[in-house]
């Protein structure tokens, strides 16, 4: 019982205390014309004082002009709606429950243009306030305030509850007319062509996550003896380090936000995995391969715009690439003449041809500046430029004909549309 009384007391107090029922986003115009609309003969706030309250509360609001909405107060439909609003506003209701239903009233609210309408009504000693803008047929903000004779104090309270936030410059007649012809942001068509350039850093390794180690262990653990000997030579990762950083450059574009293509260039440096116990390498200062790859990807993507200034474009890509491994080798200064094994050391193919497949996403801020994240698998195989000869079976196996790795890239992007 005691709880019930306490709850009732709290409820009674809260019913009379200041309480904002809802406050949706609305455009606060600078130097606005504020219409104060009330069904009461003597409205609870004074237009002139309210203008001063607005200026005191929000310095960015400029020089507002406040007046009573005489035209609304002479309209019987608007007055009926005003009386209805006073009777129906309470903490339970949402904005949609306070919607104006009469077509004439709806038209009236929609013709507010860049004026601000503040509704004031009194019920049982409390002052109910609501604001309207041209885009909604229901109040955009509503609340209740403790009834007081002090019109200035009440004006201050209402101004701070509903009229905070940054004010926008009012548009000229021409600008408004132009804005009306502009397409709605929500229905904005995807540009015909969206291009991007990207510089990315990344990392690649032979082991593909979530696959068994024994698929790769023989390649990864392999060492090169005597400049050319390994257990097998099917993968280049038998000879050179597989896990290395890489840099990449992408230049691409999508048409109609759906299908696209991109050119790519990637660079990495891989050291040769010489066997440290092999004394023959004592003459060697360094030995590695510069990996250059150029390729072309086809992209399928879809763009989502959760916020006006942010776009996310997840995509999947598939493409082909040419890989070139440029050897970089040097002897120590005191070894002028290399060993015989050095002269007949392993040679890679001039180029490898492979495929790559993967997925990723562009995250674009303010239409231009983006971050790109992607991951994928790429392969390098034999680059067959002529038909295999009938003696193909007798030819030695191509070194590195199945060199597969996976990669992940993070890039800085610049996007542009045409």
């Amino acid at each position: 019982m005691r709880h019930v009384i306490l709850a009732a007391l709290i409820f009674a107090c809260s019913a009379f205390a200041d309480n904002v029922f809802f406050h949706h986003h609305w455009t606060l115009w600078k130097d606005a014309e504020v219409l104060i609309w009330s069904a009461d003969k003597n409205p609870a706030i004074d237009p002139k004082e309210f203008c001063l309250s607005l200026k005191r509360n929000n310095t960015g609001i400029g020089e507002p002009k406040c007046r009573l909405a005489g035209e609304w107060e002479r309209d019987s439909i608007a007055m009926r709606y005003a009386n209805w609003l006073v009777a129906n506003m309470d903490g339970n209701v949402k904005a949609e429950h306070l919607r104006a239903r009469h077509p004439a009233m709806v038209a009236k609210i929609q013709s507010v243009e860049d004026r601000l309408v503040l509704f004031i009504g009194e019920r049982e000693g409390s002052i109910f306030a609501a604001t309207f803008d041209e885009n909604n047929v229901e109040p955009v903000a509503a609340g209740v305030f403790t009834g007081t004779k002090d019109k200035i104090a009440l004006g201050d309270k209402i101004a701070s509850a509903f009229f905070d936030g940054s004010a926008k410059r009012r548009l000229s007649k021409e600008e408004r007319a132009k804005r009306l012809t502009e397409p709605d942001e929500s229905y904005k068509e995807i540009p015909g062509f969206q291009g991007w350039a990207s510089v990315a850093i990344g990392y690649s390794q032979a082991k593909i996550p979530l696959t068994p180690n024994n698929w790769y262990s023989s390649h990864i653990n392999s060492r090169v003896r005597g400049y050319r000997i390994t257990k097998d030579s099917v993968s280049l990762w038998n000879f050179i380090d597989d896990s290395d950083p890489q840099i990449a450059v992408y230049l691409g574009g999508t048409w109609y936000g759906f299908i696209g293509a991109e050119l790519m260039y990637r660079y990495a440096y891989h050291e040769v995995k010489t066997d440290p116990q092999d004394t023959i390498y004592r003459e060697l200062s360094y030995w590695g391969f510069h990996q250059h790859e150029v390729g072309l990807n086809v992209i399928l993507s879809k763009t989502y715009t959760p916020i006006k200034w942010f776009k996310a474009t997840p995509f999947a890509f598939i493409g082909f690439q040419y890989s070139f491994f440029v050897e970089d080798i040097g002897l120590k200064d005191n070894h002028k003449k290399p060993s015989k094994a050095y002269d007949v050391r392993i040679k890679f193919e001039d180029s490898y041809k492979g495929a790559l497949v993967g997925f990723g996403s562009h995250f674009v801020f303010l239409n231009h500046y983006g971050l790109g994240l992607r991951a994928g698998i790429s392969s390098r195989g034999r680059n067959i430029e002529e038909d295999p000869s009938p003696e193909a079976a007798a030819e030695p196996t191509t070194i590195g004909s199945s060199t597969i790795d996976c990669f992940v890239n993070l890039g800085l992007e610049y996007h542009f549309s045409m």
């Binding site: 009926r80 709606y81 209805w84 129906n88 429950h97 104006a100 239903r101 009469h102």
Partner: protein, 230 residues
């Protein structure tokens, strides 16, 4: 552990199945609907609400001429409706349709795709009965569709509205679909709006079958008005 896993799988499957089939919400309560009418209520819409969808089928079964079947069933149903309503409320006032019909017709949203149309009094105008009194609650019957094997979504889901009716009409059940609003006359707001469907196995159609389905509808409506209180 295994049982718990099976239980979880069952729950997930049920959720998927529920998610696949379209489910609608057929009623809407105003957040300030705190008290249902108990002893007195006004009702309106009874003059025009009743519609028979298969007039020739009904005319043949009831042995009434096809020209007068709409008028006849409309009067009969309205009378039954009132008789049944008087059993639930001590005082029932009838407000002629004309009082409400001059207000613009509006759509009320019950669910994403479910909209019911009807005339609602204007905001700020209190409706009065013929004696000049303003009843607190008005039950506005927008539509009372009587037919066989009807589905309410075909009438109220805007995505299905233009579907062609199947060629072969069946008559396993006598169906009544009612759309109505409980109107708060003091504050001029819809307190409870709903579309209800009633199916009754159809043996050999007689007037008592129609009487029975209208009575069921009224009983259910009065129950719904109570259960709709927030």
């Amino acid at each position: 552990m295994v049982i718990r896993l099976h239980f979880a799988i069952c729950i997930i499957l049920m959720c998927i199945l529920c998610g696949c089939s379209p489910s609608y919400q057929w009623h809407q309560s105003h957040p300030s609907y705190r008290k249902a009418p108990t002893d007195s209520i006004a009702v309106t819409g009874l003059d025009d609400a009743f519609v028979v969808t298969r007039s020739s089928w009904f005319a043949k079964r009831l042995e009434i001429s096809k020209d007068s079947i709409q008028t006849f069933t409309s009067h009969f149903c309205a009378k039954t409706f009132l008789t049944e309503l008087r059993k639930s409320y001590a005082s029932v006032t009838v407000i002629p349709d004309a009082v409400i019909n001059h207000f613009p017709e509006e759509s009320q949203k019950l669910d994403t795709r479910i909209f019911m149309k009807g005339h609602l009094p204007e905001q700020g105008i209190v409706v009065k009965d013929s004696a000049g009194k303003a009843p607190a609650y008005i039950l506005i019957i927008h539509e009372f569709i009587l037919g066989t094997d009807l589905q309410r979504e075909n009438f109220f889901d805007y995505a299905l509205l233009h579907n062609e009716a199947p060629e072969k009409k069946t008559s396993k059940n006598l169906t009544a679909i009612v759309s109505y609003t409980l109107w708060d006359n003091e504050k001029q707001r819809p307190l409870y709006s709903a579309v209800n469907q009633f199916d009754q196995p159809n043996m050999n159609l007689s007037l008592s079958d129609i009487e029975r389905i209208v009575s069921t509808a009224v009983k259910q409506i009065t129950q719904n008005l109570t259960s709709g209180v927030q």
